[in-house]
């Protein structure tokens, strides 16, 4: 059963803030750099990952008692691969335009490290409902990360958000270039680190005063 200090909201928020797959764990950076040219791509990729994470967490937490510990990693990989195939076919059939803009990355969800990691760390040891909450939290964390990077790049590069004109001009066309993904991720990580150090310093100062 659940430990005392882990409520459902904690599990949920953990995926979005403390263990954010993109900014904190720095796992599966390929889509974060490769296709985050606009918010829409980030949103679609996030939904796809959320779906795969949800379904594979459900599957693994249902059959966790039947998996031999020695072959657990291949089992996870095959489970994820099955659900990725489902996602791939559904996207190709119903959303062909979006599928084309995401390209090969939909299929590469199979090798996103953090999905396997969540299955191994959480879904294997917990009952069905908490694992689902955890899966949704991780998926949303990934989605927010992708949308944040995509938002910065779209706003700076094209002056639009979700296709709507916001600034009316194009501040820096450089951000549309594929190579700018690295810079945006690097700068955002640095900003995250900076706010964290400032926050910690203030906390320490307040504690010292009191």
């Amino acid at each position: 059963m659940l430990e005392d200090n882990k409520s459902y909201s904690n599990i949920f928020l953990n995926g979005i803030f403390n263990d954010n797959p993109i900014f904190r764990l720095a796992l599966s950076m390929c889509p974060a750099v490769g296709i985050s040219t606009n918010v829409m791509n980030g949103l679609l990729m996030g939904i796809a990952v959320l779906f795969v994470q949800f379904c594979s967490s459900l599957t693994i937490s249902l059959i966790k008692n039947y998996i031999h510990p020695r072959i657990r990693i291949p089992t996870y990989t095959l489970t994820i691969a099955t659900w990725v195939t489902v996602t791939d076919l559904v996207l190709a059939a119903f959303f062909p335009v979006a599928y084309k803009s995401l390209g090969i990355f939909v299929r590469l969800i199979v090798v996103f490290c953090f999905i396997t990691m969540r299955l191994d760390v959480f879904a294997r040891k917990n009952p069905v409902f908490p694992s689902l909450v955890d899966a949704v939290g991780m998926g949303l964390g990934f989605m927010f990360g992708m949308m944040a990077i995509g938002g910065v790049r779209e706003l700076m590069g094209m002056g639009t958000l979700l296709g709507y004109d916001i600034l009316g001009f194009r501040p820096l066309l450089f951000f549309v270039l594929p190579a700018s993904g690295f810079f945006v991720v690097g700068f955002m990580m640095a900003i995250f680190n900076y706010t964290e150090t400032v926050f910690n310093r203030r906390k320490r100062a307040r504690r010292a005063v009191s």
Binding site: A26, C30, P74, I104, L108, P178, A179, F182, F183, N193
Partner: protein, 317 residues
């Protein structure tokens, strides 16, 4: 003795010439080739009629993958002896794809020579070299396609680990792509179960890694001690799955897929080596506190990506 040597060289030479010559499928059409960015040149065995070639229905051009999309022809030029025809297209051609040219009811000196459908493609060796260089530099999988970043950022802290990872990765990717080519061409395609390719390829990659691990452990324990650590990491790289998927999507033949995987492996090796050299220097540099670690690594790889964009205009053949 000399004869046998001569014969051997003759055979090799004839194989090379046979591979490079662009044979066509119709007796009346001698040669087809790309010329410049948007020109296809067709050489006929005899003179053809000018009013046949100016008939808009005479020539139809499309790429082999999508036969529904006809390319628009701007105008057609014919040489003085009426044997060579230059077809100017409105848009630039994608020369890596095979183009099909349908010649309806060829008229030569008033006589019909029948309808011909001929393919236009680059020379085979040139094509192989283009794939190799393309996968290595022009379309470098790390800096241009952004695949395999997890390993790329994970192992480049030291130069020795980067080299070890690069070598073992190249070996594994060549093995696994070769095996997936056989599986794809002889099992998935004939039975029309291509939709299972993700599951099959990822299983295959895991198996290959396990096999290399086991074999290396028995055959060469010293080498295993050096490279064994990296083998497990390889499964979690995007790149190792992306290469078989691209190979399947492009429908490459055996040597083309070999070149693709070798190029991808070598390109990855190059990227790892360059990055590890920079990061060893970065350790000594005074970097602002919030940029230490991951952020500066990302910015350095962004600079590399910008410089690799310089290769994008390069095409050799």
């Amino acid at each position: 003795m000399i004869m046998s040597k001569c014969v051997r060289w003759m055979i090799v030479l004839s194989i090379i010439i046979g591979c490079t010559a662009c044979n066509t499928e119709h007796r009346f059409v001698k040669r087809t080739e790309f010329k410049g960015k948007n020109i296809i040149a067709i050489t006929f065995a005899g003179p053809v009629d000018e009013n046949w070639i100016n008939n808009p229905k005479a020539i139809k051009i499309n790429e082999q993958q999508d036969p529904d999309i006809l390319l628009t022809i701007d105008h057609v030029e014919i040489s003085k002896d009426c044997k060579t025809v230059l077809i100017f297209l409105k848009d630039a051609l994608n020369q890596t794809n095979v183009h099909m040219v349908a010649l309806n009811d060829i008229m030569s000196e008033g006589k019909s020579q029948g309808t011909a459908v001929v393919s236009v493609k680059k020379l085979y060796w040139g094509n192989l070299l283009t794939i190799l260089i393309g996968a290595m530099l022009v379309q470098n999988y790390v800096f241009v396609k952004y695949l395999g970043l997890c390993i790329f950022l994970g192992v480049t802290k030291k130069r020795s680990t980067a080299i070890g990872m690069g070598i073992s990765f190249t070996i594994v990717i060549i093995f696994s792509t070769t095996i997936s080519w056989f599986l794809y061409q002889f099992i998935l395609k004939p039975f029309q179960i291509e939709f299972l390719q993700i599951i099959v390829f990822i299983g295959l990659v895991a198996l290959t890694v396990q096999a290399v691990d086991t074999i290396l452990r028995k055959v060469n324990p010293i080498l295993f001690k050096e490279f064994g650590v990296y083998l497990v990491l390889i499964i979690s790289s995007c790149l190792i799955l992306a290469v078989p998927l691209i190979m399947a999507a492009q429908d490459y033949d055996f040597f083309e897929s070999l070149m693709l995987s070798a190029g991808a492996g070598l390109g990855f090796f190059l990227a790892l080596f360059l990055m590890s050299c920079v990061r060893e220097r970065l350790d000594l540099a005074p970097i602002p506190e919030s940029y230490q670690g991951m952020p500066i690594a990302f910015i350095v790889s962004g600079l590399f990506a910008l410089s690799f964009m310089g290769f994008s205009g390069m095409s050799i053949f």
